[in-house]
Amino acid sequence: MDIVILGLPMMYYIAMVAKVLVAFVFVLLTVAYSTYAERKIIGHMQVRLGPMRTGWHGLLQPIADGVKLFFKEEIVPAQASTFAFLIAPIIALVPAFITFAVIPFGGVIEVAGYKIPLQVASYVDVASGKVYDINVGVLYILAMSSIGVYGIVLAGWASNSKYSLLGGLRASAQMISYELSAGLAIVSVFMLSGTLSMNEIVNLQSGVGGFDWYIFKQPLAFIMFFICSIAEINRTPFDLPEAETELVSGFCTEYSSMKYAMFFMAEYANMITVCAITTTLFLGGWNGPMATTIPLLGPVYFVAKVYFLIFFCMWLRATVPRYRYDQLMHIGWKVFIPLGLLNIVATGIWNFILQ
């Protein structure tokens, strides 16, 4: 306990490694089983059974899929730009995972007399007892999501195939335009919270028995942010970049084996991250009844909310048909951006009146 390395106690390093592992394994497992859940849920919604053969009710399906993809032959097209082709899946996957570093998934727990905040990039200052995290957490998330665009653009371009290129161009145009409206929706949350730190934003929503969530104060911003996020991660009903009826499989047409699996994982990891961000910003994060008194309840509430939102995404996929490209652009630029600006003005006026 008393070992000090570079001015920090040993527990600090152990806690850091443990938190990174927990967050990473959580995302990885959720990625694997959300593919299964998606097939199962959509199957039942369409009065089918979904995967049934591998294990009890198909429970081992994700593992079987993973093993299958792992042993497939890896093909790099002859005319492809090799370096960009190889690096694109990595660029797509990494931002989706590292965004989780700033999301608080629980309150402060105490292990062997050492206080650990359940958020990867944070620590408790022993002297003052305050929790410090990246104080620009939300901007970090926006920055990482803008890096994710490269993976898809490069994949589309490096494949040297017309379907891939069209898919990549569509994807990047869509992601860039919806990033704007998602950002505008978040601004109205900042105006209420007055801080960019994720930890502070969650703490500010802990009033009224753990139900003082921003969704009740900013319903319009919540709806806009969630729709824009779904569009930004290219999920149905906005999955035009990989519209299989028009573009074969969009930007990942030429990919095979584990590289294809990495794009697949990136898509699901992005969905989980977006659901976690929405939970943190609008649904009170790990807050809930009794969450402040019993610290272990925090992660339970957090995971429950994230899983509900993931279920909602799958529900949307089973319900809503795909949008046309001009409709998509129309909604993004002519509906969401003016609405977002109006929402900011309204929030400003409201704040001014309250003062």
Binding site: A84, I87, V149, I176
Partner: protein, 167 residues
């Protein structure tokens, strides 16, 4: 620890900056430039300026480089043929050498060497870097800020008019 981290990041920054110039494929050059911007963002984090770091990644690595990558892709610039460029290398070395001396003199002897003012490191840590930038931008520098936004608006409208044949 921090010095070691700084040295590693600097190594990556220098290698990627060299790759920007030496890569034959323009896309790979652009990717190296993005890596260089990332390293710059890391420097900002180490200087206790997280807001600058986030904006660096968002604006430079995110927005501006996406446009450059787009342009390269759509114009389909191919790998340029190798030409004899020895005179350019000599000229570039001389210019680079003098720029280095110039920068060193400015950094170590110039006015920016030891900046003085009311904002010391302690005050920035106390009040928050983001809060200070925001407050200054909307009080002291409000007029330049608004003029910049009008400039950007003019540029956007200009782009729309140029792109649209009939309005």
């Amino acid at each position: 620890m921090e010095t070691l981290f700084f040295l590693i990041i600097s190594l990556v920054a220098i290698v990627s900056a060299i790759l920007v110039v030496t890569c034959r494929n323009p896309i790979n050059s652009a990717l190296s430039l993005i890596l260089t911007f990332f390293c710059l963002a890391t420097y900002y984090v180490m200087l206790d300026a997280p807001f600058m770091a986030a904006v660096q990644v968002m604006v430079y690595a995110g927005a501006i480089m996406v446009l450059i990558v787009f342009t390269i892709m759509l114009l389909n610039i191919r790998v340029n043929a190798s030409k004899s460029q020895s005179h350019k290398i000599v000229l570039g070395t001389i210019i680079g050498f003098f720029t280095l001396i110039n920068t060193a003199v400015i950094v170590f002897k110039g006015r920016v060497a030891i900046p003085s003012g009311p904002l010391t490191g302690e005050i920035i840590k106390q009040q928050g870097h983001t809060e200070l930038i925001g407050r200054e931008m909307f009080t002291t520098f409000l007029l330049p800020f608004e003029i910049t936004s009008i400039l950007l608006l003019v540029a956007i409208i200009g782009a729309v008019i140029l792109a649209k044949k009939k309005i």
